[in-house]
Amino acid sequence: MRWLGLAIVVTIVLAIISLFVGVSDVSLGALLSSSPEDRPMQVLLISRIPRTLAIILSGASMAIAGLVMQMVVRNRFVEPSTAGTTESASLGFLVITLLAPGWPLMGKMLVSALFALAGTALFLRILRAVPLRDVLLVPLVGIMLGGIIGAVTAVIAYRYGLMASLLAWSMGDFSGILRGRYELLWIGLACCILAYIAADRFTVAGMGKDFTTNLGLNYQRVMVLGLVIVSLVSAVVLVSVGSIPFLGLIVPNLVSLMVGDNMRRTVPWVALGGAGFVLACDIVGRIVRYPYEIPISVVVGVLGSMIFLFLLLRTRRHAA
């Protein structure tokens, strides 16, 4: 409990640093010496606060989505980007953008979430048809499925001259976040709360189908609830900031090593860890080439793949 308090403090400090990093002069001094209509306060309200909130919300909810997915699929190495979920959400967003360009973002997001749900269900269907005993083969199947769906998306985008937009939204980037362009991410927070409320169910499902049935829970229903959370979060984050790879993988795995898998205990850790990790990566991305920026997906991708490799090698040693 004391450590959790410390984690909250660290996350808040990172959030404050995140607010004050940038090209425009937004320091406490500048804020106090100018009137609210002036540039510093406006930059803070329109750009900086929305950006920091977007980072916290998407970081926390993507990490939770990874956690929920790992519990219901019962595999440590699945997350939305290794199960075809993100790619399906992207395909859905492209399709609805072509068919109904005038729809509000909320509607497009929901279509994208439906595609994500269908893509993930397909992934699970494939897993059931090919029972894989090796834990590492499961994410490989997911990555291959994601590759196929991604290829279909690319062909459609190419055909209709939307390659540039596709690239823009599949690469996670917070630099375009302004007031009015991130609010869908609050749905991600709602999903995190839902995951916390249903935490015990997910832990039970993580023990397997037989245990779940023995304890009187409907396994199928828990699965569906989990997949809805995962799909919704993936779609919301995709349409708001783009995809952030590995996040849903490394944060829950590191938390699992520290405090285990009882979700009642891990949800706060995973949410804070996700938010803190993305905040830190975003600050790094903004400072390294100051005044230019490196997109978040690149920073998280580089750091994340290193941690992912470490986790993989560790499992191998464990299994041997």
Partner: protein, 252 residues
């Protein structure tokens, strides 16, 4: 009382469990024995609604297992399968606590905590409570699973080969504990057992299966008999009486 009638499960053309009608008495220990592939585990899975049956029906105290709400059954009957691949990293205490889930849906009361502590003490896990399951030996893990099932505090406890992974001392300890649970707590324990001597020593009632059918059943004294056993296992089995217990010898 558990009653099965005409329970059948087939894979393709082969019936793994073939029209089994059984009445298992309440109280005491009932063991299901028989050669590999006799359908013992499949039958147990269907009785405990883990597996759907193709034909037939099962009732537990008059409740039909396919139509009774699962959470109602979870307070009557608990089941532990033979293979338990647990990928989730839970502590022993966490695992045992989940045995209370059918009653609490997650919010533990003082009464639940008492049940949890009792189950942990009952299985000698006190020193291991805060250890993660993946840090335990196979035998310790098996005891933790049984503790969870006992913590569920159901009238019927179904265990599929609970002696798997246990050495002689712990196998004996487990059987004594189940005997104690049957005598003191009034549980009805149904086991799938491979070791017929454990079955002989500890069971009140024995059911023998072969090729998906029940071929014989009765009190242990009736079942542990050279002719009966030889017929079940298709091999010569001698039975000796040692200190008032019937012991089978089948090593050559």
């Amino acid at each position: 009382m558990i009653v099965t009638s005409e329970v059948t499960k087939s894979y393709g053309a082969t019936a793994v469990v073939d029209g089994v009608s059984l009445t298992l008495p309440s109280g005491g220990i009932t063991s299901i024995i028989g050669p590999n592939g006799a359908g013992k585990s499949t039958l147990l899975s269907m009785v405990s609604r883990l597996m759907a049956m193709d034909k037939g029906s099962v009732t537990v105290d008059g409740l039909d297992v396919t139509s009774t709400p699962s959470d109602v059954l979870a307070r009557r009957l608990s089941i532990l399968r033979q293979e338990n691949h647990m990928t989730a990293r839970l502590t022993v205490r966490d695992l045992v606590s989940f045995g209370r889930y059918p009653y609490t849906k997650g919010r533990l009361t003082l009464d639940d905590k008492r049940h949890i502590d009792e189950a942990i003490t009952y299985l000698n896990l006190t020193e291991l409570t805060d250890r993660f399951l993946d840090e335990l030996s196979g035998g310790q893990r098996q005891r933790a699973f049984v503790a969870m099932v006992l913590c569920q505090d159901t009238d019927y406890v179904l265990l599929d080969e609970p002696l798997n992974n246990l050495d002689m001392k712990h196998a004996m300890g487990m059987m004594r504990l189940l005997r104690k649970a049957a005598n003191e707590l009034g549980k009805t324990v149904v086991l799938v057992l491979h070791d017929i001597n454990f079955a002989s020593w500890y069971s009140d009632y024995i059911v023998a299966m072969k090729q998906g059918r029940v071929v014989n059943q009765g009190p242990a004294a009736h079942m542990i008999d050279p002719a009966v056993l030889s017929d079940i296992y298709d091999m010569e089995i001698k039975v000796h009486e040692i200190g008032g217990q019937r012991i089978s010898v089948y090593y050559e």
